[in-house]
Point group: C2
Chain length 217, copies 2
Amino acid sequence: MTSTATAPIDPIDPTDPIAAAAALGVGARVTLSVMADDYVRVITQAISAVETHDLEVDTDKVSTFVRGPEHRIAEYLRDLIGAASAHGHHVVATVMISRGCPGEVCGVVGPPQAPTPHLAPAGVPVQAQWSLYPLFDPDGGARPGDHLAPVWAAIERAKQAGTYLRSEHFATTLQGDLADVLVTMLDTWLAAAQATQHVVTHATIVANSPVASQDLR
Amino acid sequence: MTSTATAPIDPIDPTDPIAAAAALGVGARVTLSVMADDYVRVITQAISAVETHDLEVDTDKVSTFVRGPEHRIAEYLRDLIGAASAHGHHVVATVMISRGCPGEVCGVVGPPQAPTPHLAPAGVPVQAQWSLYPLFDPDGGARPGDHLAPVWAAIERAKQAGTYLRSEHFATTLQGDLADVLVTMLDTWLAAAQATQHVVTHATIVANSPVASQDLR
């Protein structure tokens, strides 16, 4: 689970953003679900329509793998989920974003230099259930009693960003424009990676839900 | 992210399986996506049809929370995803299962006593992308260099079980009957929890994919 690449990592070529992301283990997987009979057309059109410069994109039966700079991953996810949602169909996007373990054996990867991505609004209101997993610090691993400290800090950042709706068992529900929810995911993941090398974040993002918020929490 | 309950944990009542699961932080969240115009009917019928004895079940706009003994969670997931898949529609189930952090501050929770769940086949072939996160060991946290050791052990168990298809970036693809894939998820999660208290596993499970395996990996 992580790259199967075991070859020594070459020095990073600063002109190759995909190789740079690979050396840091930066990437994402996304599964789009469109709840309509014509889902194949909607999904394939969305995947085809999204700009992929500076990204490696590989779709299999379960998900699409995306590798590249953090801001390009953010833009890709916004544009892909936004395109699939533009028809008004109920859409669920299952997203994971990972950093800090570029191979089967995690070498030492420095903290992120990337600033928090800025994303123009998508115009797509969403709810998302989000979780953040700080996994590995080569300087000593998680400290007893505070392994969730980066998670509480992330929830505070979500509250400040205005995307926090409420805490759940095992997850936090975010709400807002798709772009703002993705920025919270990326921002808190990058912040956690300042202290913990290997950090993964997951979210289940829902657009165009038929359920009015007063009917179901 | 985790329970918001901060009250002291009461002694476990052995006759109350839901309270026992709550004290161990054992539970799951699942989101069903059905790619058909009549998805609301299919999903609500599946949720209504599944047997829920010994389980707490709470559905919100994004997911369904399930709490109870491990074997009942396994049966619930098999029956729910199986029911949604029975119509032949393309189904994506986003599943997370957690153990070992029953409140906002993780107390010390003992290793699982539960045996690996045995599940009768669902008759539903699936592919799943699966990941396992060993988060917290109160005896000292993840050891530098071996924080993924439980993950490699889990992949070995999946290979022995015959559900392993291949390794991916950030995930492992499993393939087989829905019941066997769920057993691999639960079995490896329980095995990892023998050494690491707080363990979370995620999977994106796909049934009735229109993509023939020779068309797309």
